[in-house]
Each structure stands twice: as structure tokens, then as C-alpha cells.
Amino acid sequence: MGKDQPSATRVGPAAREAIFAQLADAGRAEQVARRLTDAIILGVLEDGERLPSETELARRFGVAVITVREGLGMLRESRLVETRRGRDGGSFVTSGTGHEGALEARLSTVSRVELADMAVYFATILGGCAERAAARSTDDEGDRLATWLSGASFDSPAAARANTGGFYLEVAVLSQSPRLVREQIRVQAEYGPLLLLALDDSTERESTARVNASIADAIRAHDGERARELVLGQLDAHSRGLLRAKDALDREAVTSGPTRLHPAP
């Protein structure tokens, strides 16, 4: 942990270290692309920021330079980075992009089965938190949760993502279980960027805000079963939204690219 670190950047050295930690074997170029995409979505890598050199990235990820180049190529295709030549050249996080490019890029690196499983695991942890919160929170705590929620904005994708994540964390805290809180933070860091991309859609944002309020009401009413069911339903909606988006992307690729029924030999 860094000392005397000014709190200007949103996410600190630990998060940055984690991004550049070494990668496992399979699909390394995709993993490079995925890591960097998450970092861009989360804002760990900021608009306009220059990425470390290809050699440096290769060293940090523990992969070949050519693999890094391939990964960066994927990011370029999604218009998340641009490469400039010359003395001040390098790969830069494209400024001014929304998350649309990121969503497409991220969805293309994850399989449908992984996506569905992510949502199941996330919902199991958060559903457990909500159930325990309903059993254990005092009336005051339930009221504070509802008050906090009613002041939170779900209008823009960024606000909806931050506040939904914050709401989930508050629910976990009410469970009184440090282990559940730690696990919720972990799954939120690992899967949150992807799952909460569903909130790019305004209908999804509205229904999420509404369901969040119902979850808070169920917790206030000490109705653990209902709180858990609502959480499961919400995560199911997030994952369905993403699967639909992935489906659309895949179809687009099929109609634009050459059709190939059999894998190349």
C-alpha cells in the first residue's frame, strides 16, 4: 500500500498493480485486452492516458511482445486506444469515448456460459447478504439504507453503476458478516464492471433503481426471502441484457463476415 498518496486518482496503486499482474496461459491476447478494457471501464486507466510500452506491458503480464501487440490490436478495433507514432508516440486511452466500445470489446472476450455463471455467483453472494441484512438490521439501519437510496442518482450510466455498486455494498455491510462483505467487494471488483454494463441501457437503469428500492423495503420489513428473490431477479435481468447484447454482436459478425460452418482445419 502506498504511503502519502494523494487521493486525486480514483483508484490507487493496488488496483493498478492488479491490472498488470501476470496472466494465465489460455487466450493470452484476449486476456490482455480484457484486463485493459476493464481498467478503462473502471477509470483506472483514464482518458488520454499513455499505456506503458509494449515491452513493458509484456514484462508485466508475463507474455510475449507479440501477444501484447495482438491484445492492443483488439482494443484499437474497439476504439478504446489509439496508437500514435513518433517521439511522443505510444498507445493512448482514447479520450471522449463512451462505454459502448468497451461493452462490445468486453462482451467479445467472454463466453455466454461464463457470463451466465458470473451472474449466478454474484447473485448468490449478494442474495445471501440481503437475506442476512433483513434478519439482522435494525429499523434505523433499514431507514438509513432507504434514505441513502432515495438520494442516489440512477440517471446516467456512470452514476447508476457507482450507486448500484454502493447499494450492494451497503446491503452486504448490513449482513454484519465481514466474510460476506469481503466476498461482495471481490465479486464486485471482478464481475461488476461487466455485469453493471447492463446499466448503459436507460430502461435497465429505471428498473434497477425500482428493484433496488424494493430490496431496501424488503430488508426494512425483515423479509429475507423476498429480499433474496429480488436480488436474484435483478442479477438475472442484468445477465439477460448482456446476453442479448452479445447475441446481437455475434449476429452482426455472422452477417458481415464470411459464414463458416466448420472450423478451419
Binding site: M1, G2, K3, D4, Q5, P6, S7, T9, R10, V11, G12, P13, A14, A15, L42, V44, R136, T138, D140, A152, A162, N163, G165, G166, F167, L169, A172, V173, S175, Q176, S177, P178, V181, R182, E183, I185, R186, Q188, A189
Partner: protein
């Protein structure tokens, strides 16, 4: 909370039935447990008080982050040894005290044994809020109980037990004291006690009582329990006898009725 650490016991009479004398024994165990817990918390508040005095006398009503960090770390770091009662301590300065900054944290964490998120550490580390990116939704910590309550009451406060997701990711009590100068709050000085560590101090005292006892907060939230069916973190609202831990919002409750009539 009304201090009630000196419970009036009637004179013991020779004709007393065994049940009555057993109850009286339990009564005195509960009272002495509350007294000991009270003393333990008071000792931590004494430390906070001395840091507060030093901050005010050496720094006055205006300072820089560096000067503040220096004074606080010199007092706090020696206390954050492995297995110490305190697992974190420091000073949270209000924005206008450390000028040109947001709320400034001069806060250190003791060695953390299990850190699935932040890793384990052997040495005290400085709290770096920027590593808590997931807490971005918390725009202002001044709304949190350990800051807001001392700011409103101008008195010391015990927050918790609660899961602290900003510092330790553990179940803790936070003790805070406002640092006041000319009716202005410069910040709060505070210390964290992990419930798992506090338990080691409290349980031996509870075990001298035949009647099961628990330490609870003002909401009835269990901090330490001497009864298997009552878990820490749960709520006990129907205790019939209790002893306040003077100077704190905590109390020791008798769980005899709960043990005898499990729901």
C-alpha cells in the same frame, strides 16, 4: 446513557434461599463485567484524550498534512503492534483544518492477518483511501456515524459493532473523540478495536458467571456473547436484566431467560 456502574445490592441475609443467592451472585458478576469493560474502553479514550491534547498544543488551530501526520504517527504507530487491542488509530481532519484538502486521513492500520482484498501485512500501514476504489459511492465520510455523532454531540462516541469496509474489512468497534478548538471541530481522533480481539478480554470475565452474559450496544446488537444460541451481530431486544458499561453506549445483558426459554 445513564452511568450505572455502582449497582445497589441489598444486604445479604442468612435466611436467603439458594435461588436468591445465585441470582445475587449473577448480579454481581454482570456488574463487575460491565465495570471491567467500561475500564477497558475508558483506557482507550484516555489515550485519545492525550493525543488530542498534544495535537492542540503542538499544532494549534491550523496545520499542514505533513505536520499532522508526523504528530499523529509518532503517537499511534507504537500502539499498533501485532496482537494489540487496537487495530487502527489516527486522526480524521475536517477539510478546513488541513487547508486546501478534502477530509484528510492521518490513519494507520495495525498488521492485518487475513487480507483477501488488501493482502496481509506484518507492519502497520497507512490507510490509503484511493485503494478503496469500490467505495467511490461514499462521497463524504462526514456522514458516517463515527464522524457525524461526535460532530453533533461534541462528545466521545462508540460506533458499532459493524463491518468496516473502508479500513480493515473486519467486525469492529470504533471509538472517536471530537477535537475542538474555539467551538470549531478540527476533526475526530479515533481508534478501532476488532471484536475478535475484544472477545479475548471479555469472555474470561463472562465465564466466571454461571448465568450466560453478552455485551451489546444501544440497539441490542451483540458484540460478544457467552451463550451459544446468541450469535455476535444478532439483536437481543428482550433482556430483562442488564448493567450499563459506564461512559459507553454498551451494556452487559443476562441471557439466562433466552437460554432457559429458547424460541
Amino acid at each position: 446513557m445513564v452511568p450505572r456502574d455502582s449497582i445497589q445490592l441489598p444486604e445479604r441475609r442468612a435466611t436467603e434461599s439458594p435461588q436468591v443467592s445465585e441470582r445475587r451472585a449473577a448480579e454481581s458478576k454482570g456488574a463487575s463485567a460491565a465495570h471491567e469493560i467500561s475500564a477497558l474502553i475508558a483506557a482507550v479514550f484516555d489515550s485519545l484524550e492525550s493525543w488530542r491534547t498534544e495535537i492542540l498544543s503542538t499544532l494549534g488551530t491550523s496545520t499542514t498534512p505533513a505536520a499532522l501526520d508526523d504528530v499523529v504517527s509518532r503517537r499511534v504507530l507504537p500502539l499498533l503492534t501485532d496482537d494489540a487491542l487496537l487495530i487502527g488509530a489516527g486522526f480524521i481532519a475536517s477539510p478546513d483544518y488541513v487547508h486546501g484538502r478534502d477530509v484528510h486521513f492521518a490513519w494507520w492500520l495495525g498488521p492485518l492477518e487475513s487480507g483477501p482484498i488488501f493482502g496481509s501485512t506484518q507492519e502497520p500501514t497507512r490507510l490509503d483511501l484511493s485503494t478503496r476504489g469500490y467505495a467511490d459511492y461514499l462521497r463524504d465520510v462526514r456522514g458516517l456515524e463515527w464522524y457525524a455523532t461526535p460532530a453533533a454531540t461534541m462528545l466521545g462516541h462508540v460506533t458499532g459493532p459493524y463491518v468496516d469496509h473502508l479500513c480493515t474489512c473486519d467486525y469492529i468497534l470504533t471509538l472517536t473523540l471530537p477535537v475542538l478548538a474555539e467551538d470549531r471541530m478540527l476533526g475526530v481522533i479515533g481508534a478501532d478495536i476488532a471484536v475478535r480481539r475484544l472477545e479475548r478480554e471479555v469472555i474470561p470475565v463472562f465465564l466466571t458467571s454461571h448465568e450466560p452474559l453478552a455485551l451489546v450496544n444501544a440497539d441490542g446488537r451483540v458484540v460478544v456473547s457467552g451463550e451459544a444460541s446468541v450469535a455476535p451481530g444478532s439483536l437481543v431486544r428482550d433482556a430483562t436484566s442488564w448493567w450499563d458499561c459506564a461512559g459507553t453506549p454498551l451494556r452487559v445483558v443476562s441471557l439466562g431467560a433466552i437460554r432457559d426459554n429458547p424460541s
